[in-house]
C-alpha cells in the first residue's frame, strides 16, 4: 500500500495548497539557515556594532543590533539552525518513544497495553512544559538536554496514534497471513504493520516539530537554553529588558518562530489530508 501510494502522494501533496505553501516557506527557511552564515559570516555573539541599531539604520547590520551590539541577522540565522536541529532531533526521539509504546501496546494488547496506556496518560497529565523546564534545569541547560527534554514530553500523541493504527492493522489479512506463514513477532511488526502505520505518524511528526520549536524557544526565553548557542528564544529573552526602547530585538526572532511554526503546521495539515484522504479534517 505505502509503496504504490508514493507517486499519488506527491501529486496529492502538490495540489494541496496548504502543503505547498508550507513546503515553500520551509524551503526558504532552510535556505536561510544554510547560506545565511555565508552572507553574515562571523560569530553571532560578537559585538559587531553599536548597540540597539534599528533595522535598516546601517546596511552593514541590515536587521540592526541588540542591546550588546550583536548583529541580529547573524543571530537569526544561527537561531534558524538551532531551532530546526532541535525541532528535528527531539521529534525523532518523540516519534521513536511514541512508536515503540504505541506499537507494543497495540500489538500485544492486554496488560502490556494497559500499563503503557497508563504511562501515556501520566505524561499527558503532567504539564509538559513544566516537566521540560524541570528536566532541563535539573540536568543543566545544553542542546542535548533540551533535545531530550522536549522529546520526552512530546511523545504521547504519537503513541496514541500508533496504538490506534496497530489495533486496526493487527486484524488485517496481510498481518494474519504473515502470522500463519510463521513470521516472528519482531519481523511481523517491522515488515508488515509498521510500514503501513507510518504515514499518519509522519504527518503528526511534522506538527510535533512545530510544537518542539515553540518549546525550545520558550525554554531559551526562560534562560534554559544552551549558554553557548544563540537561538531565537535566547535573543527574545535577552531583548526583554529593553522591550520598550527596542522592541524589534524581541520582535524579529518571534516572527521567525511564527513563520517556521506556520510552515510546519501547514505542511503537517497538508500531509494529513494527503496521507489520510478518507479522514475528514476537523
Amino acid at each position: 500500500m505505502s509503496a504504490s501510494a508514493q507517486p499519488g502522494l506527491l501529486w496529492r501533496l502538490s495540489v494541496n495548497r496548504s502543503a505547498a505553501g508550507g513546503a515553500v516557506l520551509l524551503a526558504l527557511i532552510l535556505a536561510l539557515a544554510i547560506i545565511g552564515p555565508l552572507l553574515w559570516p562571523g560569530d553571532p555573539w560578537e559585538m559587531a556594532a553599536p548597540p540597539m541599531l534599528w533595522p535598516g539604520e546601517d546596511m552593514a547590520n541590515p536587521l540592526g543590533t541588540d542591546v550588546m551590539g550583536r548583529d541580529l541577522a547573524a543571530g537569526l540565522v544561527s537561531g534558524a539552525r538551532v531551532s530546526l536541529m532541535i525541532g528535528l532531533v527531539s521529534t525523532l526521539i518523540a516519534a521513536g518513544i511514541g512508536t515503540l509504546f504505541g506499537a507494543l501496546g497495540g500489538f500485544y494488547g492486554g496488560s502490556v497495553d494497559a500499563v503503557l496506556m497508563r504511562v501515556t496518560e501520566l505524561f499527558q497529565t503532567v504539564p509538559s512544559f513544566v516537566l521540560a523546564v524541570v528536566l532541563v534545569a535539573v540536568f543543566r541547560p545544553s542542546v542535548a538536554t533540551a533535545v531530550l527534554a522536549i522529546g520526552i514530553v512530546s511523545w504521547p500523541a504519537t503513541a496514541r496514534l500508533v496504538r490506534a493504527q496497530f489495533l486496526l492493522l493487527r486484524e488485517r489479512e496481510f498481518v494474519l497471513a504473515g502470522e500463519t506463514i510463521g513470521m516472528g513477532t519482531p519481523r511481523l511488526i517491522l515488515t508488515q504493520i509498521l510500514p503501513n502505520a507510518l504515514p499518519p505518524v509522519i504527518a503528526m511528526s511534522t506538527l510535533t516539530i512545530a510544537h518542539a520549536i515553540q518549546t525550545e524557544a520558550a525554554l531559551s526565553f526562560l534562560g534554559l537554553g544552551d549558554p553557548n548557542v544563540m537561538s531565537w528564544g535566547t535573543i527574545i529573552g535577552g531583548g526583554r529588558e529593553q522591550l520598550a526602547e527596542a522592541w524589534y530585538v524581541c520582535g524579529l526572532p518571534g516572527i521567525a518562530v511564527v513563520v517556521t511554526v506556520l510552515a510546519f503546521n501547514l505542511l503537517g495539515e497538508g500531509l494529513n489530508d494527503a496521507l489520510n484522504p478518507h479522514l475528514q479534517r476537523r
Binding site: 497529565t125 503532567v126 535539573v138 534562560g223 527574545i236
Partner: protein, 331 residues
C-alpha cells in the same frame, strides 16, 4: 431532573486519581534519582544554600544509605503528608510558597479560560452561520496564525503595543504599589492588571474553541433534531443557540479536559512575561536561583492541579450531557 448516582461517581473518580498521583510521585522520584549529585544536593539546592551540617542531617534523615525502595517509600510518605520540602533560597516550606502563589495562577487560568470559551464560541458560531463569508475566512487565518504564535512572544508584543506604545494597560504585576484603597478599587486594580495576561493566555484556546465550535455547529446543523426544531417553527437564532450551540458545548467540555495541562504550561510562560505573582513566576524564580526542590514541588503540585481540574471537567460533562450515566459509560 435529579441525576442519579452523582456521589458514587465523584467518589469513584476520586479513587481513580490515586494511581495517577502515585505515577506523578514516581516520576518526580525518578528525576531526583537521575539528577547529578545525590538527592540531598538537589533537595537542598545547589551552591551551598544550606549549611553542610544541615545537609548531613538531611542525608541521614533521608536514609540515603538505605535501599532505593525504602527511599521511595519515604518520599511517598512525605508527599502524602504534603511535605514538599524546604526552599533554602526563599527560606520557606515549598508547600507554603506554592499555596501563596496558587490563587494568582488560578485566577489567571480561569479568566483566560472564560475569555477563550466566550470569545471562541462567539467566533465559532459566527463563522458557522456564515460559512464561506469573509468573516469565516478571516477566522481560519486567525486560527492558522494563532497556532503558530508562541504565547510568551504574543505577551511581549502586547506589552509593546498596549503598555509601552499606547499606555492603556499596566505591563506587569498584579497590583499598583501604594495605590487604591478600599475593596472596590483593589478589585478594579487587579482586573486592570489581569487583562493583558489573561487575554494573551486565552488567545490560543480561543482559536481552538472557535475552530471546534464551528465544525461542531456545522455538523449539528445537519442533525435530525435541528430539522425537528425547524419543523416546529423555531427561528434561525433559536435553532442556532438553543439547539445547535447547546449541543456544541459537549465537545468543547471534552476538549477542556485535554487542555488543562497545556493551559498550566502556558500560564507559566505568561506569568513570567507579565510578572504575574503565581506558580509560573515562582517557577521562573526557582530556575534563576537553581532551587530545584522548589521546581520539583511546582511540577508535582501543578500535576495535581491538572488532575483536579480534569475531575471537575468530568463532573461538568455529566451535568451537561444527560446521556452520560454517572454510574457507567456513555449511553
Amino acid at each position: 431532573m435529579k441525576r442519579r448516582g452523582l456521589r458514587p461517581f465523584v467518589l469513584r473518580r476520586l479513587w481513580q486519581v490515586v494511581p495517577v498521583l502515585f505515577g506523578i510521585a514516581a516520576l518526580n522520584f525518578l528525576i531526583l534519582q537521575l539528577a547529578p549529585g545525590d538527592v540531598v544536593d538537589v533537595l537542598a539546592g545547589e551552591a551551598g544554600a544550606a549549611t553542610p551540617e544541615y545537609m548531613a542531617q538531611l542525608r541521614a534523615a533521608f536514609g540515603l544509605d538505605r535501599p532505593l525502595p525504602v527511599q521511595f517509600l519515604h518520599y511517598l510518605g512525605n508527599l502524602a503528608t504534603l511535605d514538599l520540602g524546604f526552599s533554602f533560597r526563599l527560606n520557606m516550606p515549598v508547600l507554603g510558597l506554592i499555596m501563596t502563589r496558587l490563587p494568582a495562577t488560578l485566577l489567571l487560568m480561569t479568566s483566560a479560560l472564560a475569555i477563550a470559551v466566550v470569545a471562541g464560541s462567539l467566533l465559532g458560531v459566527l463563522a458557522a452561520t456564515r460559512v464561506g463569508s469573509w468573516a469565516d475566512t478571516a477566522l481560519s487565518w486567525f486560527v492558522l496564525l494563532t497556532y503558530a504564535v508562541p504565547t510568551f512572544w504574543l505577551g511581549l508584543m502586547a506589552i509593546v503595543l498596549f503598555s509601552a506604545g499606547l499606555g492603556w494597560l499596566p505591563s506587569g504585576g498584579m497590583y499598583t504599589v501604594g495605590a487604591g484603597h478600599g475593596a472596590l478599587a483593589m478589585i478594579g486594580d487587579v482586573a486592570l492588571h489581569l487583562i493583558l495576561p489573561a487575554v494573551t493566555l486565552s488567545t490560543f484556546y480561543m482559536a481552538v474553541y472557535a475552530r471546534l465550535v464551528r465544525s461542531s455547529m456545522l455538523e449539528l446543523y445537519g442533525a435530525d433534531f435541528i430539522r425537528t426544531a425547524r419543523a416546529k417553527g423555531a427561528g434561525e437564532w433559536r435553532i442556532t443557540l438553543v439547539h445547535a450551540f447547546r449541543n456544541a458545548l459537549l465537545p468543547m467540555v471534552t476538549m477542556l479536559a485535554y487542555q488543562s495541562a497545556s493551559l498550566l504550561s502556558g500560564a507559566v510562560l505568561v506569568e513570567t512575561v507579565f510578572s504575574w505573582p503565581g506558580l509560573g513566576r515562582l517557577a521562573y524564580e526557582a530556575i534563576r536561583t537553581r532551587d530545584l526542590n522548589l521546581l520539583l514541588g511546582i511540577l508535582f503540585f501543578s500535576s495535581v492541579v491538572v488532575v483536579l481540574v480534569n475531575l471537575l471537567v468530568d463532573l461538568l460533562y455529566v451535568l451537561i450531557d444527560p446521556r452520560v450515566d454517572p454510574a457507567g459509560r456513555r449511553a
